[in-house]
């Protein structure tokens, strides 16, 4: 008999960290505080969830996992704004659009979210070489297991 058994595996550890986007995301300028949630079951995707409203969330991914030759040119004004001293300080997350029922997904390579790992402060940056990239770079996905 099939039943909804209690899982024997311990629950995966879900990590969450605070991210502040002082300028919000483009089109969501008023939402500045987020939780970055890394759930091992959802890797390599992460979730950027609006703090105080769990129903509002963006799916994000490390872009280099998909496009190893991605070379975003971050404008100097943004580097200064974020206080980035060297490239290792920057965590890049690109917003993923999941189509209905998870049949297809794309990521935005023109406007990565750049976060200073040391301060947790980030900004959605329009890269200087945006014309070389798409806002809908296709991801190869298979439907979520039910």
């Amino acid at each position: 008999m099939k039943c909804n058994c209690i899982e024997t595996e311990p629950p995966a550890v879900v990590a969450a960290s605070n991210v502040r986007l002082p300028m919000g995301l483009l089109g969501f300028e008023q939402m500045k505080d987020y939780l970055l949630i890394a759930n091992p079951e959802e890797e390599p995707f992460g979730r950027l969830q609006v703090k105080g409203d769990a129903s509002l969330c963006f799916v994000v991914i490390n872009p280099f996992l998909i496009a190893p030759d991605y070379h975003p040119d971050i404008p100097q004004a943004d580097v200064d704004f974020l206080g980035l001293k060297n490239p290792e300080d920057a965590l890049l997350l690109n917003i993923v659009t999941v189509q209905k029922q998870g049949q297809a997904a794309t990521m935005n390579l023109k406007g990565p979210i750049v976060i200073n790992r040391n301060t947790g402060i980030g900004k959605q940056v329009v890269i200087a070489n945006a014309s070389e990239y798409s806002v809908q770079h296709p991801l190869l996905v298979s439907e979520a297991a039910g």
């Binding site: 089109g27 890797e43 991914i61 490390n62 993923v96 999941v98 023109k110 806002v135 298979s142």
Partner: protein, 90 residues
């Protein structure tokens, strides 16, 4: 809409802190120099709207299960996919 006439190298001051200068006029192209405090985002309108639209489409609600990523093969020691911040670590 306020419409002002300006010559090359003349400027407009907005709110006492944003300076917009006509740098050069080349046929149909106008080069504009903008000086604004770092908390004032400045974007080309068409790219701003493209990313804004994409962000609105990407907003997930309600939250369902995420699809599985089909990872490219023959990858050498992929960098950690976990988007964790340093500050989140002990």
């Amino acid at each position: 809409m306020l419409i002002l006439s300006r010559k090359t190298s003349e400027s407009i001051v907005i709110d006492g802190r944003i300076h917009v200068k006509i740098v050069r006029v080349e046929g149909e192209v106008v080069k504009i120099g903008i000086e604004a405090p770092s908390d004032v985002p400045v974007h080309r309108q068409e790219i701003y709207e493209e990313i804004q639209r994409n962000n609105q489409q990407a907003l997930v609600r309600p939250i369902g299960p995420l699809p599985k990523l089909v990872q490219p093969k023959n990858k050498t020691a992929a960098p950690s996919a976990s988007p964790a911040l340093k500050s989140a670590r002990p």
